[in-house]
Symmetry: C2
Subunit: 542 residues, 2 copies
């Protein structure tokens, strides 16, 4: 009720009693802190420089938004400012085929799913549900869904639980159970800021210093290598086979774990991207089984990046198998050792609203599910998640839409069905057409994608291109992709950005393009013309 | 166009040619990877355990969502399941006064600003703009704003630039310029996932190993200490004076930098929270000037957490001064050394949509602005930001609402003005009433807040309470707050959660409560009754 009287000390006093909390605030209006520096103004050296900041940040590489993407952004800016002529730009629009961002305008422009957006709008402005003139716009099931979500989260302007809304997590658990046939504990589901947010969080938990290693596929989505650089741990690479549907060789992976451990790398986890990114393959059930056996034998945690699980192009021959289902199926094994794996192999699976047919990247929603992770570690994961408070509420609501779409008989179902089928169909057509047409170009080989949103063509550019790239101080795939951008405005990512290095003798290399461009024919023509000219100029030795 | 023929090797083969990418995918339908393990199932030791994961994660403490908060969540769950009687719960509702979450239902329930939500709903479902029946609901300026935002971002379902929407960043720059009177480069503004996302990102960039130090106030918002634990750097504490409006003593801070450097700690930056959290003080312009002089002399980067800049309760006597304005004002100094500081002192300022009068925590929006940060470091910050792709689009749109509210003459202005004034008034009234009433309780002293959304009462609990807490293995403030929760359902954060430790002899300690409870009188009564009973039980020696 009363403050103790304390002795005050002035800023001018050189004998401040202590660095204690008791020193008084100056009531004088003039400045009291005199600068004793004698250097001239120009000699000031900033505290933060490339040599003083976190070296692990410097080491990070992230090509999906690297040099080529920055250059593309700059082209787009110049074009929007009407500077095409003055800047000598050879095209009218930039095509951002470097990133799976389906709703990007104007060149991709996939339409959002109506059901998703109706529910989102109602949660933003709940009085639309009450307002007679607007209520007619919203089918009854969107209103019911919005009400249920708001009853759980209160408001989309409120922080939720750090794991995310309890209702949405319950729906995720139901979705996984329906997909896989095994029960799921909603408490082990964490909603995240896209899948990326979850991957970064878990990498940070799992690695414990520079000797920790995590296996990553080559080629890989560069988030994984970037996170490993950032958290100062070792990537332990395993190769996907470009000549056999980018399959993985479990025996070889097992061997590389032994080799890495022999060198003192504490290999703790293995990232698997299925369907693959950038490669688009769908792993066979046997391949996954073998991976699980290996994870058990070698004691590594499996990180299953399954964000493209709804982008499947050959469902009959190459369906999606979730790691969780294949793992839990081991419980039915007659072999006790194998059966025990179902409850022993540590598995973390990721999913996202950014891909699939929703393509709602901008909401930043996703989830991960912990399987066989010890409660003490789960507590640490929760603590770390809580520092970021919670994922965005519209991201969480997006997850609800993803895992609990309209069902047959509900008012929104017919439109939802028509919209999603159309997107699936379009993506399949584009993917097939692009693969077929690109594969016909001289020096380009590409298989149709089994899944995901990309093609990953292999190029044979020849030694002349390599020599020219070298002259410009570039890897040959970088050189090719930069030339493509300059000539066409098409922005793609070189294979080396995914760790798939070019052969610097023959010029064999790769690039990733999305299959999202709206005007597929125009895209193919624009690219094909560039490629032919490039090969005329540099492919002379082929 | 054709794949080279390769030799295949079976999984059974022990002499795999290499760990190369050429090994074939098995076409056999049976499993090929044999487990050689001989251990019994029960002997499996999980890879991830408290002793194997990142020790820096283990070290993190985050009390805002710690033990007490978890217990409160559990109470809320039991109450919602109708288990009040069976669980022996003594109250009917949990009051989450532990976190500034104004829109949380049902106990806080601050209403969202209509303008914000109208624009958000239109960006979610743009056809509402075209639809005649709904258009009437939306004032013309909300439609114009939504159109302008959509023209820039394309869709709220698309990734934006990793720095955030160019249009929103332009508006942020205009807001800062209008506030401070100095031009701002939109390219140096990064939109973030709340302010927390920006703080975590920049901490990660700035610290470079265990000898790096960052000054943090005591008491402090625990995000800062948590981030320093996580990135394995040293907190260098400076004390705020509880008996002089939580002022900071620049001379003492300067001395502690010297002391820390003397011990080998590379002190690089200094966090200042203004208005203070948990303490609510607004720094005087002179205090800020001195801090800037000190930052220049001692070469430390200033991190100005200004997320409560719009929550000011004594605008005449304790206005908000932005660090950026005070820094840039030095350019007018006659003293060349002082004038040079305006372009030399490295300053990063944070703002958020979660506080103020919007309280839109769940959208996860905020920004930081880089001032005098070298371009080479800025490039690294950009690279790191790009790994997370972009902040949520509705968070970005929230920032647009924050920095560019309706102006006089625009259709939404009257309602916006009425809503924001009412919220300001309510917060002021609650804050004053709570401070006045709590201060009258025996053993409680609390000053009215100058800013932010909290009170930080000082308690004198006495030695008997300390002894009882010790018996239970708790700090005395933790004991008090847990007892409060058990008795009343009110969830607050003990001072030690902010680094303000209790005096374990006299029982002097602190707690933070938000001022957000809707039923202020009821809150005060509930709390007061508990406190009196606590003091009757444990305050016997006072």
């Amino acid at each position: 009720m009363s403050s103790p009287t304390i002795s005050t000390s002035s800023y001018y006093s050189t004998s401040v009693a202590s660095t204690s909390s008791m020193a008084s605030h100056p009531s004088s209006a003039t400045s009291a802190y005199s600068t004793s520096a004698t250097r001239s103004p120009s000699s000031y050296k900033p505290v933060l420089s490339k040599s003083s900041i976190n070296p692990h940040v410097i080491n990070v590489e992230y090509a999906v938004r690297g040099e080529i993407s920055n250059k593309a952004n700059n082209y787009a800016k110049l074009l929007s400012e009407g500077k095409k002529e003055s800047a000598g730009i050879k095209f009218d629009s930039v095509v951002t085929a470097n990133i799976g961002n389906p709703q990007q305008q104007p060149y991709l422009a996939q339409k959002p799913l109506t059901f998703w957006r109706q529910v989102a709008a109602l949660t933003e402005l709940p009085y639309l549900m009450e307002h007679e003139s607007t209520r007619a716009v919203f089918p009854e099931d969107t209103i019911q869904r919005a009400k249920a979500l708001l009853a759980d989260v209160g408001s989309v302007g409120a922080y939720s639980h750090s794991k995310g809304s309890a209702l949405v997590r319950k729906h995720v658990a139901e979705f996984i159970q329906e997909r896989d046939g095994y029960p799921v504990d909603p408490e082990l589901i964490y909603l995240t800021t896209g899948a990326s947010g979850g991957v970064q969080l878990l990498m940070q938990v799992m690695v414990a210093g520079p000797d920790s290693g995590v296996m990553i596929p080559i080629p890989q989505y560069p988030l994984y290598s970037a996170a490993l650089s950032l958290y100062n741990a070792q990537p332990v690479e395993y190769q996907l086979n470009p000549f056999d549907d980018w399959s993985l060789d479990v025996q070889a992976m097992s061997k590389s774990i032994d080799e890495a451990r022999g060198k003192g790398v504490d290999v703790r986890a293995c990232v698997v991207i299925n369907p693959g990114n950038p490669t688009g393959q769908c792993l066979s059930e046997d391949n996954i089984k073998d991976l699980i056996r290996m994870a058990h034998e070698k004691r590594v945690v499996l990180l299953a990046d399954e964000v493209y699980q709804a982008n499947i192009f050959q469902p009959e021959t190459r369906p999606f198998h979730s790691f969780r289902k294949v793992l839990k199926d081991f419980s039915k094994s007659q072999n006790a050792e194998e059966a025990s794996m179902a409850d022993e192999v540590e598995l973390i699976s990721f999913h996202s609203i950014s891909k699939g047919v929703s393509g709602e990247c901008g909401r930043r929603g996703g989830y991960f599910e912990l399987c066989n992770i010890s409660p003490e570690v789960e507590a640490e994961i929760y603590k770390l998640a809580s520092i970021s408070l919670c994922p965005s509420l519209q991201g969480q609501i997006g997850v609800d839409m993803l895992v609990k779409p309209p069902k047959k008989g509900e008012p929104s179902y017919p439109l939802y069905k028509a919209e999603t089928e159309a997107i699936h169909k379009t993506l399949l057509q584009r993917s097939e057409k692009m693969a077929e047409r690109l594969d016909k170009l001289k020096g380009v080989s590409v298989d149709p994608a089994q899944g995901a949103l990309y093609l990953f063509p292999r190029l044979e550019l020849g030694s002349k291109a390599v020599a020219e790239a070298e002259k410009r101080g570039k890897k040959v795939d970088n050189f090719y992709c930069l030339e493509m951008l300059d000539a066409t405005g098409i922005c793609v990512v070189p294979g080396s950005g995914f760790g798939k290095m070019p052969d610097e003798e023959t010029g064999e290399c790769w690039f990733r393009t999305t299959i999202l461009a709206k005007e597929t024919d125009e895209f193919i023509e624009r690219y094909g013309k560039f490629h032919d000219e490039f090969m005329k100029m540099y492919g002379g030795d082929l």
